[in-house]
C-alpha cells in the first residue's frame, strides 16, 4: 500500500507536476477573477442594480436604442431629444464599442434562451470585464518575467486595486469599463508581437487596437505609446527585423481599423496626436530599407552615408510635418491634449474642460488612496526592469514614466497608470517572495529562476567576505535562517492583508455610491436612502408632456434623457460650447434677460439641484461659478464673474451677496420659498453655512412646479406670456397688490404639488 502510494507520489511529481501547476494556476486565476467581480458588487448589494452617475445613463440609453432598433439605425442615429433645437448626430459622435459589446452579450444570452434584462447586462458589464482584465494582466506580466508568481500577483493586484475599481463598480457603465481590459490586452499582444516578430500577433494587436478605438477616446495613449516604444528601441540601437514586422503590421492594419469608427474617421492621418505613429512607421521603413541595403553592399563608406541619409530624411520629414501643421493640413493638438502639458491651459482657454472635476490635477493622497502599498513597490519593479533591459522591459519603463506623468496631471488618468503599477509592483513583490520562500526548497518552481540572483549574490558575497568563511564555502548562497525568512514573509503577508483590507474599505466606502441614489446614516445607525433624483425625474416623466423641453445645467442632461425621457437643451456630451454658454447665461442673468432666452429655446421646465437643506455639496450653487465663467467666455459684456463676488472677493449667498448674485435666476430658483421652511429669519444654507435673508427671492416669469422630498431637485415651469400682454413683473405685482400684500410666502407650489 505504502509502496504504491510512494509510486504514485513519484508519478505525480515526475509526470504531471507541470500539469498540476497549470491546473492550480487556472484555478487561482479563476478565483482572482471571481474576487475581482465580487468586490465590485457592493453597490448592487447596498443599493440596487442601477446605472450610476452621469455618462453611464447616456450609454445605457444608447444601448437600449441599439437593442430595440438594431445596429444600422443605431449607426445612423440622429437624436432630436438632446441639444434642443440642434439635435445630435449620436451615431457618428460616440464610441460604439461599449454599446455593441453589451448588445452582443444580450443577443447571445437570448440565443442561449436566457432572457436577461438589458439593464442587468449593463450594470454587470464592468465587473465582468474586470475579471478579464485580471487575466490580461496575468498574461502581460508573464511575458515580462519568467517568475510565475509575478503574473498571479499582478492579476490579484489588478483585480482589487481601487484605482481601477473606481471606474468599474457594478453600475458604472462607462467606456472605461471595457477599455481598460482592451488596453492591457492590446499591450500584451504587442509585447507578444515584438518578442516573436510575428505578423499574426501584430494583426491581433491591430484588431484589439481597433476594438479599443471603438470603445474609448483613451486609445490615443496606445497610439502614442507603441510608437514611442519602437522609437526608443531604434534609438537604443535595438532595431531588429522583429520590430519591423510587428510594428508595421500593427500600424498598417490598426490605422485602417481605427478609421472604421465614424467618430474617429480621418483623424489618424489628420491630427497631430496620431502623427508620431505615422512618423515612426516611416522611420522604420527607412531603417528597414537601409539595413537591407547594407547587407547587399560591402563598403563601409556607404554605410556612414546611408546613416546620414536616414538622418536627413528624418529631419526633412519632421520639418514637413511641422510645416503641414502650421499650414493647417494637419489639425494641431486639441485643447484636451494641451492641458496635459500645461495644467493651467484649460482653466484659461477652455473652462468647460477645467470645470469637470476628473480633469483636475491629482492630489498626492489620491495616489496612496488608489494604489495603497503598490505606490512604493512600483519604483522597485521599474528598477528591476533596468537590471535586465530586454525589449519588453523597455516598454514597462516607458509606460511607467509616461503614465506617472499623466496620472499626476489629471485625476482621471490614474486609470491608465494602474495597470503598469500592478505589473511593476507584482514583479518587485514576486522577487521578494522568490528570494525568501524558495532559497531552500528547490522543488518549488521558481528555484531555477533564482539562479541569476543567487549567482549575483555569490559574486557579491565573494567580493565582500574573505575566502575562509563557512558561509561562502557552501555551494548554495541564499537566505537560510528561518528567523529572517519568517520576518520578511510575515511582513509581506501583513502588507498583502493590509492591502486587501484597504482595497475593500476604499471600494465599499468611496467608490460604490451610485450618486443617483444617496445614502445617509440615521442617528440609530440604520441606513437612510435619499432618492430625490429619481423622485424628480419620475415626476417629470409622469406629469409633463412627452416633448416638454427641460433646461438644466449640462451635468444632468444625460440623467434627464435617461430617467425622465424628456428632451434637454444641453448634456454631458459637451460638443457645443456656445449652447452651454447660452444656458449658463440664462442661469446667471436676471429674469428679464433669461425669460426671452428660455422662450427662444422653447424651454418648458427648468431644473436646478439645491443641496442647502440637506447639506449636499454637489449642487448648482457650488457649480454656479463655472456657469458664469463659461457664459462669460461667450458674452464677456453681459456676464461678468467679478459681479458675483462681494467687494472683498467672497462668494456669498447670504445677506451680503451682491445684487447680481441675488437677482440671478439660479439664486432665485435655489432659494425660492426656502425661508418658509424655517422660523422667521432662521433660514440657513447647510452647504455654505450661511444665514439667508429673511425675505426670500421673488419669481415672476417662472413658477415652482415641483420640489423633491429633501429639496435636492427643484423644477420650475416657465410661464406662458401674460394673457393681457403685460410683462410678468407687472402682472405679479398686480396680483400681489390684489391680495393686499397678505403674505410674501405664497402657498402656490404646495397646491401644485398635491395635484
Amino acid at each position: 500500500m505504502a509502496a504504491a502510494e510512494s509510486e504514485t507520489d513519484k508519478f505525480i511529481k515526475q509526470v504531471s507536476g507541470r500539469n498540476t501547476r497549470g491546473l492550480l494556476r487556472v484555478i487561482i486565476l479563476c478565483l482572482i477573477a471571481g474576487a475581482a467581480v465580487a468586490s465590485r458588487l457592493f453597490s448592487v448589494i447596498r443599493f440596487e442594480s442601477i446605472i450610476h452617475e452621469f455618462d453611464p445613463w447616456f450609454n445605457f440609453r444608447a444601448t437600449k436604442y441599439l437593442v430595440q432598433n438594431g445596429f444600422y439605425s443605431f449607426w445612423d442615429w440622429f437624436d432630436d431629444r438632446t441639444w434642443h433645437p440642434l439635435g445630435r448626430v449620436t451615431g457618428g459622435t460616440l464610441y460604439p464599442g461599449l454599446m455593441v459589446t453589451s448588445g452582443a452579450i444580450y443577443h447571445l444570452l437570448r440565443f442561449l434562451t436566457l432572457p436577461v434584462d438589458i439593464r442587468n447586462i449593463c450594470v454587470l458589464l464592468a465587473p465582468g470585464f474586470s475579471g478579464l482584465t485580471a487575466l490580461a494582466t496575468y498574461l502581460l506580466t508573464s511575458e515580462m518575467v519568467t517568475s510565475p508568481s509575478a503574473g498571479l500577483l499582478a492579476a490579484a493586484f489588478m483585480g482589487i486595486t481601487p484605482g481601477y475599481i473606481s471606474r468599474s463598480v457594478a453600475g458604472s457603465y462607462d467606456n472605461e469599463a471595457i477599455a481598460i481590459f482592451l488596453l492591457v490586452f492590446t499591450f500584451f499582444l504587442w509585447i507578444k508581437a515584438v518578442k516573436n516578430g510575428s505578423m499574426f500577433w501584430g494583426a491581433l494587436t491591430a484588431l484589439f487596437y481597433g476594438y479599443m478605438v471603438s470603445a474609448w477616446g483613451g486609445y490615443v495613449f496606445i497610439t502614442n505609446l507603441l510608437p514611442l516604444h519602437a522609437f526608443v528601441l531604434i534609438c537604443m540601437g535595438r532595431y531588429s527585423p522583429r520590430l519591423y514586422v510587428s510594428y508595421t503590421s500593427w500600424y498598417a492594419l490598426g490605422t485602417l481599423a481605427s478609421m472604421q469608427i465614424p467618430f474617429v474617421g480621418f483623424l489618424p492621418i489628420r491630427s497631430s496626436e496620431h502623427m508620431s505613429a505615422l512618423g515612426v512607421f516611416g522611420l522604420l521603413q527607412l531603417v528597414g530599407g537601409v539595413e537591407w541595403i547594407r547587407t547587399q553592399i560591402p563598403s563601409k563608406q556607404f554605410q556612414t552615408l546611408l546613416r546620414a541619409l536616414v538622418l536627413f530624411i528624418f529631419v526633412v520629414a519632421l520639418g514637413g510635418l511641422v510645416l503641414l501643421t502650421v499650414s493647417g493640413v494637419i489639425a494641431p493638438w486639441t485643447g484636451r491634449f494641451y492641458s496635459l502639458w500645461d495644467t493651467g491651459y484649460a482653466k484659461i482657454h477652455i473652462p468647460i474642460i477645467a470645470s469637470v472635476s476628473e480633469h483636475q490635477p491629482t492630489a498626492w493622497p489620491a495616489f496612496f488612496f488608489d494604489l495603497s502599498m503598490m505606490i512604493w513597490l512600483f519604483p522597485a519593479g521599474v528598477y528591476m526592469c533596468f537590471r535586465k533591459l530586454t525589449d519588453e522591459q523597455v516598454f514597462i519603463v516607458i509606460y511607467a514614466v509616461l503614465a506617472s506623468y499623466f496620472a499626476g496631471v489629471m485625476v482621471r488618468l490614474m486609470l491608465t497608470l494602474t495597470p503598469i503599477v500592478c505589473v511593476a509592483s507584482a514583479m518587485a513583490f514576486s522577487q521578494i517572495l522568490d528570494t525568501y520562500l524558495n532559497a531552500k526548497t528547490p522543488k518549488a518552481e521558481p528555484a531555477k529562476e533564482n539562479g541569476d540572483s543567487k549567482d549575483a549574490a555569490k559574486v557579491a558575497a565573494a567580493a565582500v567576505l574573505p575566502e575562509g568563511l563557512r558561509s561562502t564555502r557552501q555551494p548554495l548562497i541564499g537566505v537560510y535562517s528561518y528567523a529572517s525568512k519568517l520576518t520578511v514573509m510575515g511582513a509581506s503577508v501583513v502588507y498583502l492583508l493590509l492591502f486587501v483590507l484597504h482595497c475593500t474599505w476604499v471600494t465599499s466606502n468611496a467608490y460604490s455610491s451610485p450618486s443617483v441614489v444617496l445614502a445617509s446614516r440615521l442617528p440609530d445607525g440604520s441606513q437612510h436612502i435619499i432618492d430625490d433624483y429619481r423622485e424628480a425625474y419620475y415626476w417629470l416623466r409622469q406629469n409633463t408632456p412627452d416633448n416638454a423641453k427641460i433646461m438644466s445645467w449640462w451635468d444632468y442632461g444625460y440623467q434627464i434623457g435617461g430617467m425622465a425621457d424628456r428632451p434637454t437643451l444641453v448634456d454631458n456630451n459637451t460638443w457645443n460650447n456656445t449652447h452651454i454658454a447660452t444656458v449658463g447665461k440664462a442661469m446667471s442673468s436676471r429674469e428679464e434677460v433669461s425669460y426671452p432666452i428660455m422662450r427662444q429655446h422653447e424651454v418648458d421646465y427648468v431644473l436646478v439641484v439645491f443641496g442647502g437643506l440637506l447639506g449636499y455639496s454637489g449642487d448648482d450653487i457650488n457649480k454656479f461659478l463655472w456657469m458664469v465663467r463659461i457664459a462669460e467666455g461667450i458674452w464677456p459684456e453681459e456676464v461678468k464673474e467679478r459681479n458675483f463676488f462681494t467687494p472683498r472677493g467672497e462668494y456669498r449667498v447670504d445677506e451680503e451677496a451682491t445684487p447680481t448674485m441675488k437677482n440671478s435666476l439660479m439664486y432665485k430658483m435655489s432659494y425660492y420659498n426656502y425661508h418658509s421652511l424655517f422660523p422667521a429669519g432662521q433660514a440657513t444654507d447647510r452647504v455654505r453655512n450661511a444665514r439667508l435673508p429673511a425675505q426670500g427671492p421673488e419669481l415672476s416669469t417662472i413658477e415652482e412646479a415641483f420640489t423633491s422630498e429633501n429639496w435636492i431637485i427643484r423644477i420650475y415651469k416657465v410661464k406662458e406670456p401674460d394673457n393681457f400682454g403685460r410683462d410678468h413683473q407687472s402682472a405679479t405685482s398686480f396680483d400681489k397688490g390684489h391680495k393686499k400684500k397678505k403674505a410674501p410666502k405664497r402657498k402656490g407650489p404646495r397646491v401644485l404639488r398635491v395635484e
Binding site: 492594419l253 485602417l256 530599407g289 553592399i297 541619409l309
Partner: protein
C-alpha cells in the same frame, strides 16, 4: 513613405555613390551597381525574387495613386485612402513575409516556420482587405 525604402536598391545606391564617384570615377560606381545587381540576381532565391517583384508592383501602384491624388484631387477621400492604405499595408505585409522567410534572418525568427509566416501573411492580408473594402464606401 513606404515606397522609398525598397526602391533604393537602385536609386538610393546610385545617389549615395555620387560623392564617391568623384574620387574613383563614374566607372567605379557603375561597377558597384553592377556587382550588387549581379549578386542580387545570382544569390537571391527565386521565391524571394517573386516577393520583390510584387513589392515593386505595389510601389508603382501606390505612387500612381498618390500622383493621381495630387493631380486630380482627393475627392472620394475614403476611396483614395483605402486604396492607398491597401497598397501600403500589402507592401508592409509582403516585406514582413520576405523578412521572415529570408534564410539570413533565420536566427531572429526561430519560432516561425515558412508555412507559419505564409499563414500569418494570409491572415493579415485578409484583415487588411476586409477593412479596405469596408472603408471604401
Amino acid at each position: 513613405m513606404a515606397p522609398k525604402s525598397r526602391v533604393p536598391e537602385k536609386s538610393s545606391v546610385s545617389t549615395s555613390s555620387a560623392p564617391k564617384a568623384k574620387k574613383a570615377g563614374s566607372a567605379d560606381a557603375q561597377q558597384i551597381v553592377q556587382d550588387v545587381w549581379s549578386k542580387y540576381v545570382n544569390k537571391t532565391p527565386q521565391r524571394v525574387k517573386l516577393l520583390d517583384s510584387f513589392m515593386v508592383f505595389l510601389i508603382v501602384v501606390g505612387v500612381l495613386q498618390f500622383v493621381y491624388c495630387l493631380i486630380v484631387g482627393n475627392f472620394p477621400f475614403n476611396a483614395f485612402l483605402s486604396g492607398f492604405s491597401a497598397t501600403v499595408g500589402q507592401f508592409v505585409l509582403t516585406a514582413s513575409l520576405r523578412i521572415q522567410t529570408n534564410p539570413e534572418n533565420k536566427a531572429e525568427f526561430e519560432s516561425i516556420s515558412h508555412e507559419r509566416a505564409f499563414a500569418d501573411f494570409v491572415f493579415g492580408s485578409l484583415i487588411l482587405h476586409f477593412f479596405c473594402i469596408n472603408f471604401i464606401n
